[in-house]
């Protein structure tokens, strides 16, 4: 549960209890999945990074957990161990509502499996917080892209803090796939993100604000992921 393994096919298996600091120190992980790493490294302070894991962040069930949209964008599959054996499911099926997960009594999260990365792939995570550090996302957005000759051949989008659970926004991914990420395609993906929002209205962000920011972050995150996919890091 505390191991980081690179599989023979080029994927990664990250133990559910791997601390963010250990993931950051790994020689290869951040090169292959910079977006997942930046999301995990946003959880808490330096000394919390010494302990905090993506597994804990996911099972905490917060709609605003920073690593979750990035893991969804990465297409992570989780392994769960229970009294009756192991099972696997896509990461987006774990959250069930604020503070709740779909894990059954006695089950624990064991690991995340991240798929092999085709050439020309990049990911990114951005969140909006009113402070500069140590805050809870008002909106969080993870994007993973694969580009071939300038055309987006695969995309996944995760959106946090705008619904009772972190969302996988299929419509946004679809709007990007097959395009050259032209302004119209990105605007369509931003529209899809705004349409997916079912946020709460609170002092940290109104419904209108969170919805608007979801579109803004989709555009900015996609730009970073695309730059990384093109090799610009």
């Amino acid at each position: 549960m505390t191991a980081i393994e690179e599989t023979a096919e080029g994927g990664f298996r990250v133990g559910a209890a791997v601390p963010g600091a250990a993931l950051a120190e790994h020689a290869r992980f951040g090169k292959v999945w910079p977006g997942v790493l930046e999301a995990v490294n946003l959880i808490g302070s330096t000394q919390i990074q010494g302990r905090a894991s993506a597994g804990g962040n996911l099972c905490n069930g917060s709609p605003a957990g920073d690593s979750v949209p990035a893991m969804i964008a990465a297409g992570a599959i989780v392994t769960v161990q229970g009294p009756n054996g192991r099972r696997q499911m896509p990461v987006e099926e774990v959250p069930a509502g604020p503070g709740r997960t779909s894990l059954k009594p006695g089950e624990i999260l064991v690991s995340f499996a991240l798929p092999p990365r085709p050439p020309g792939s990049g990911d990114a995570y951005l969140r909006m917080i009113p402070r500069t550090e140590m805050d809870i996302a008002v909106v969080g957005c993870g994007v993973s892209l694969t580009l071939k000759d300038g055309v987006c051949t695969a995309a996944r989008v995760g959106l946090g803090a705008v619904a009772p659970t972190v969302l996988k926004v299929e419509a946004a991914a679809k709007a990007l796939t097959g395009t050259r990420l032209e302004a119209a395609a990105i605007e369509a993906a931003a529209d899809a993100c705004r349409a997916a929002c079912r946020p709460i209205d609170d002092k940290r962000g109104t419904i209108a604000y969170r919805t608007k920011i979801a579109g803004v972050l989709l555009k900015r995150t996609t730009a970073i992921a695309a730059q990384r996919a093109a090799g610009g890091n």
């Binding site: 808490g44 302070s45 330096t46 000394q47 919390i48 010494g50 302990r51 550090e133 140590m134």
Partner: protein, 165 residues
């Protein structure tokens, strides 16, 4: 419940203690080990007053199970000075009045030492970000940040390296 027997290294010395499975490292330090320099501010990872290093990695000891110390190397504030000789950070905190009530101070010092080991030339911004998990309700942080920057500069001048001790 049966107590667990844990063998570990604390501040360079072998140490053994008994703990409940659910005890935190902070419980063990302040209880059976009698090392009360690490403080309990919040017991939930927010305040950083219980900061220690676990195999050279900065952690909140309230977020670590005591049983996890088995076979590991723990460093606490008690290991920072060399006998009567204060660590340069401790000396500078005193000189520059970078503490008032003192509850946050051991965590601030342990975290600052971890920063200077990793980065002997931090910018003010880097110090502030690194110490964002150490809460202080007295000083307003400025004196702490200045003391860390000043210590870093002096340690560089004097060529005091990571192996200060």
């Amino acid at each position: 419940m049966t107590k667990l027997h844990v063998s570990t290294t604390i501040n360079g010395e072998p140490a053994e203690f008994l703990c409940e499975p659910g005890d935190t490292m902070l419980d063990a330090l302040r209880g059976p080990l009698g090392l009360t320099g690490s403080k309990e501010g919040c017991a939930s990872g927010d305040c950083g007053a219980c900061s220690i290093t676990l195999d050279d990695r900065l952690v909140c000891s309230c977020l670590m199970l005591a049983a996890e110390a088995e076979g590991c190397e723990i460093r606490t504030i008690e290991g920072m000075a060399s006998g009567d000789r204060l660590h340069p950070l401790q000396q500078k905190f005193l000189e520059m009045a970078a503490l008032q009530c003192g509850i946050c101070t051991s965590g601030m010092l342990v975290a600052s030492e971890a920063l200077l080991q990793k980065n002997p030339r931090p910018s003010e911004e880097e110090v502030r970000f690194w110490l964002a998990g150490n809460l202080c309700r007295c000083t307003g942080y400025d004196k702490i940040v200045r003391a860390v920057l000043e210590t870093a500069a002096e340690m560089r001048e004097q060529g005091i390296r990571e192996s200060w001790q």
